[in-house]
Amino acid sequence: MGTIVVPGEVLERFNGRSDNVFFDGNKAYSKVLGIYDSERGMLTPLEGLWYPRMGDTVIGIVEEDKFNIYTVYLNAPYKGIAMSKFIEEPLAAGDIIEAVIKDIDRTKTAVLTRVRKLNGGKIISVKPSKIPRIMGHGDTMIKQLVQGTKCTLVVGLNGVIWISGGNYDLAAEAIFKIVEEAHTPGLTERVKELLEGKK
């Protein structure tokens, strides 16, 4: 547990390192709206953006095919690119893909690899800061979602989730519950109850 802090608020007893914290003199301050656990000196952002990192799994939408390079919309200020020669299936504008970031170039464009087209299915976007909670510790939450809804779920760290088959409505309801209640304890148990229809 902890207390909610806003940008510019002092973090007493903070002694680690975090992209979401800055120092002025010998004091630490939060850059974001987050939950601060002063006992453990830990700040968890409630709202946060996604910065592309090597190895991130993402879901994107093909924007255009230009000279054998696909440009991909990633729900972020930076685009992805994928070489068509490394992709088995030809892609078209509007196609939804899953991919892994192989490299990030100088202009912060993400070079994509292991590109896979996602057919059918629906995508929803959530704040990227909620993705870790949707996955859960050791993927417990996402496994529970798949089991409870019989949906195929692909989760992009860029805040895009692809849902196919199974009980879409239940999956979406559970995901929005996780997003809204991400900062509360006992969530795994409540999502389990929702999926089992006990509410």
Binding site: V6, P7, G8, F22, E47, L49, P77, Y78, G186, R190
Partner: protein, 246 residues
Amino acid sequence: MSGGTDKPELIVNGKRLDGRDMGDLRAVKIEAGTLKNADGSAYIEWGNNKILAAVYGPKEALPKHIADPERAVIRCRYSMAPFSSLEEHGRSGPNRRAIEISKVTKEVFEKVVVLEDFPGSKIDLFIEVLQSDGGTRAAGITAAAVAFASSGIPMLDLPYAVSVGKIGEHVVLDLNKIEDNYSDADMPVALGPRLNEVLLLQMDGSMSRQDISKGLEMVTRAGSVISQVQKAALKEPYEKVSSRYR
């Protein structure tokens, strides 16, 4: 500000027309996350002002020539609804006054938003005044700070703004429309509470060096109240959910 011939008496028996003392703030209410599509948003009611602020981004900077390879660029549009004032129907779209306010508002956020985290991108800030009653730029900046923070964009401070002015001999806080129309001076100020420095300062009218210093003190005092309202608005949606499971 105009010294009209039929200038009303703005201070009667030591009280202002709406019953406030010289250093009193109007009631301020803020709601965070009002607009579904925006990445961050806030709705503020400040006295009779009603204002929406929304943040979109960071996103790809288009057209390309506006992009800065070192940092994100902020675009700001402050605008007033043509039905926002009690008087005649206004013209739609930003006029010269609105364009100036957009510029100085943008500059407030260029100081506190961590723009270096998003090189080459742009962040849009839109402020729509739905109902105006004096002090809309200050209320707009106060709401915009909440919209920014609710979007998750990193910031070094959570700025607020309020105006002070002069009515006769008195330095007064937070002028409403009628006071603004007939006051002797108006000075909107935005402060970063952590930095404790001035991020926006405009002045128009006649004030002494002492008046200005007194005015800035009033701003700081009111600021602690405004900051609390901003923080409460940001925390409220989360605390509401938490309280269900306590």
